[in-house]
Symmetry: D2
Subunit: 289 residues, 4 copies
């Protein structure tokens, strides 16, 4: 049994607390005083962290200014204050912790594990993302996915899961890829794979476009060929893959769909988190203690 | 080229008008004066019907009191008034026309074709229904369809399309059937099939329940075994397959999801309509004229 | 517990005997003396039939000359001799029994049930047929099913199961149909559906052709457009759907693949048989006894 | 246009020659004198190699003794002799070339590219391998894939493609993995994923077992739990993942299914080769010339 501290985060973290307690772990909570269920048991973050073997931070863990992301609290906890409260030998798990944080934690004799660098977490999370993207597509489209022409930019983890599901639902799916191995995989289940360079031609006649590539892919010239009735769903972190201004000027429907796993399937998300946390604990047990 | 009259209906009918005109047909419109696009060209229904070879009524065509369903109009057109306006030799197509209407039409030398009796229409429409049911499930569930335990009551056209899609999305699907041939079909693609009599056991542990059977299937005793977090989606026409009162008393989430094709995928719906109307015209050309 | 007589048949029947005995039924066997395992316990067919409540005949039951099909025996048992041996009130189950046999059985106070008229049996059996057809295709083709262009003539039970599987394996599938409702179903899972009249065009460029229609569909003119490297797999009973002479003249590879369930998946076949026999017994218990 | 030399190999290489010539390339052939079609145009390997920009060797390229694999020739061409014949600046492509060969080629101013190190080739080739494994399973099993319990050891490229297809065909599929990310992927499409350590339990009740792991996974203790009717298909290179002696002692059916892409789908294989060769040429053009 492990003593956890859950510091900040959203509805996923709260679900995670339940799951960890169901397995018999002790969980201290900090920075959740705005949540009606957890308000009473909220502890000072220094106590929560100091009393725990494993500190769970949000995903991503910190704001641009270096404070823990606290959606259910007004508390401002800097990454440095957090580091100071750590027990030597403890483990910190969170998203996009940053090299500086990781090396400082190491100096303090602690392990820091960035969950967003783990492929098992990314693949597991691609499923709720792909499902949520399909849900948005169903809401936006006046036609069924079955029989529709779908374009997916990017053949990575999310692109693969999304394209596979669209194909299975009866859509005509084209995936644009950069890596030949992603093309091979997408073709293996019946999608068409094309290189990104051909996007200008490929957008024509598409009923819906999904982007998963975290850089500008759909510039003004490419967007000019997109049908006015074709929704564009951007799954990549901001600023995303579309030229927003151009899309607006052209009157296109552009939806930035972000943080989908936590929003669309918080319980599945928390279960994925718990699984991966268990694996990190198993893997780092030896070097940390 | 055929002259159509479209009398009453919803957004599907409006889309249908566009599709028919794109193919070069003349279309007269009545009982749509509340729609901004069609307001100006709305005709008196007697003229519209009298000038046309083929009259398209809504699906279903008539209210319980025997008036044409007119969602975009306050006009009250009785089925008898409609019959009187028909050209001899013309064809009337609509949903649930009723035997009396059909025999009266025949007496006037007209053909009446109930589109809801056509299997091609029902099967084509089961696709938008199944997709919309999945969309609702995604909205309601805090978990992904992948890995969820889904129970589908009824292995008919909609049950098959729904169960097939849920299975392909990675769910663990059980379908309850009455006909052994439906069991055989559902097993053929990897779902489990059980007889309806076993529902009381099957509801336990389900993450979501869909009903497609148009009669009371889920009574109080069966509902008592349903998990409080398990949404119940009723796809059958009212009153549907759930004991509404019992569901409310038990605090269950029960959603009556009706007329899904027209709401969730009006364009696909209108395309299906147009295809089937074309087939009815081809099949009835000889006997009617 | 029921006493069965199994008279004639093939390896499926032998497997069926095992399955029935595993469930505690008594099974008398006749006309299997060439089978090493059953040779010793073979009874005279009159005794076997006379001592049983339910007589299981092969599928199909009789040769063109009216004798029971006995693949593991040289015995010639006429349908009339069989009828004479029946216990009043007993049930006869077999394939393609014929109206004459059924009415004669009724005169003797017996029930005769033609298993090939049951939709549950046909649908369950379409699965091993579809799988075996895919196995043959894999053997014949120097390319993978994934990415191949497949043409399936006929959108009935076998056509649907076959087309669905080929699509899921990543093929580009076209199904030719006669019924609009079959077209709607095939389109629902992502195949293309076309009317049979368009076959002459559709054969061009196909990598493999499957026929499921039990009448001449592929005549000389249509076959002339088939690529020399495109295998033709006929799943329909002889004479099947291809003009054999024309195919030979054109140098095409034509394979008559018959009785696939018993050959490719005898155990699944026997399990399907047992399930359906159980249902027939349940349904006919009342009227027969 | 490029001048190729194809030296040694099997039917895939011959098909590849056709495909390259169809695109207008010049292809010199060596070590194919036993093939009736290519016998006449066979050149001395030194000429063939010396006159070419790009030398295509078999996959794998060399025997354990260091000679080119020549299935259609008795010629013995050592890797050193081959190196000596190379044009400076030319490109050599083949399977498992070895570090020594690659560094010697580099010394001669040539590029050597091991096609078996390319992920795009491995993924593309996993499709014919997975299909061929399913074909073998269909031949071996007296039941259908639909409804069968399948165990796949290894969740790598081949394991994923195989498990995905078995699941889509309606099987109950468990994949054993070493990497958590492979577990996540296999679960994403509906298979169960377990760690390899649990194999002893998992083999029980399996209808068929596939191995894709290139080391001893199924030892005597694990094999003792395998049902006598459960075929074991080994897809990993010799010696493979089963203890052959133990399997024989236990009376299990063990099939070493090797080099499946070339055997089961030589044309798809040659097309994959051609695609990847094209990419290697594009990528290495600059550094080599």
């Amino acid at each position: 049994m492990v003593t956890f501290a859950v510091v900040g985060g959203d509805v996923r973290q709260l679900k995670l607390v339940q799951l960890l307690r169901q397995e018999g772990h002790k969980v201290n909570i900090a920075a959740f005083e705005k949540d009606p269920d957890f308000n009473k048991e909220c502890m000072d973050f220094k106590n929560a962290v100091g009393l725990s073997d494993c500190v769970l931070l949000p995903i991503p863990a910190f704001t641009a200014e270096g404070y823990v992301v606290t959606q259910c609290s007004d508390e401002r906890i800097s990454s440095n204050a957090l580091l100071k409260s750590l027990n030597p030998g403890s483990l910190v798990i969170g998203g996009r912790l940053g090299e500086e944080f990781e090396s400082k934690a190491a100096e303090l004799g602690c392990c820091a594990s960035d969950i967003l660098n783990r492929e098992d977490f990314s693949i597991a999370n691609a499923v709720p993302t792909a499902e949520a993207a399909i849900q948005i597509a169903m809401q936006q489209l006046p036609i069924t996915i079955a029989g529709s022409k779908c374009l997916v930019a990017g053949g990575g983890r999310i692109g693969k899961q999304l394209a596979m599901r669209l194909h299975l639902l009866g859509a005509d799916v084209t995936v644009t890829v950069r890596k030949a191995s992603d093309a091979a995989f997408c073709e293996s289940f019946g999608a068409k794979a094309e290189y990104t360079a051909r996007l200008e031609t490929l957008v024509q006649g598409s009923d819906i476009i999904f982007n998963t590539v975290p850089e500008l892919v759909f510039d003004e010239q490419i967007l000019a060929g997109v049908d006015k009735t074709c929704p564009c769903i951007d799954l990549a972190s901001m600023p995303g893959g579309f030229d927003d201004e151009a899309a607006e000027k052209l009157g296109l429907v552009l939806i930035h769909a972000l943080s989908l796993p936590g929003k669309a399937a918080p319980v599945t998300s928390a279960l994925n988190l718990k699984k991966v946390i268990g694996r990190i604990l198993a893997e780092t047990a030896a070097p940390c203690h």
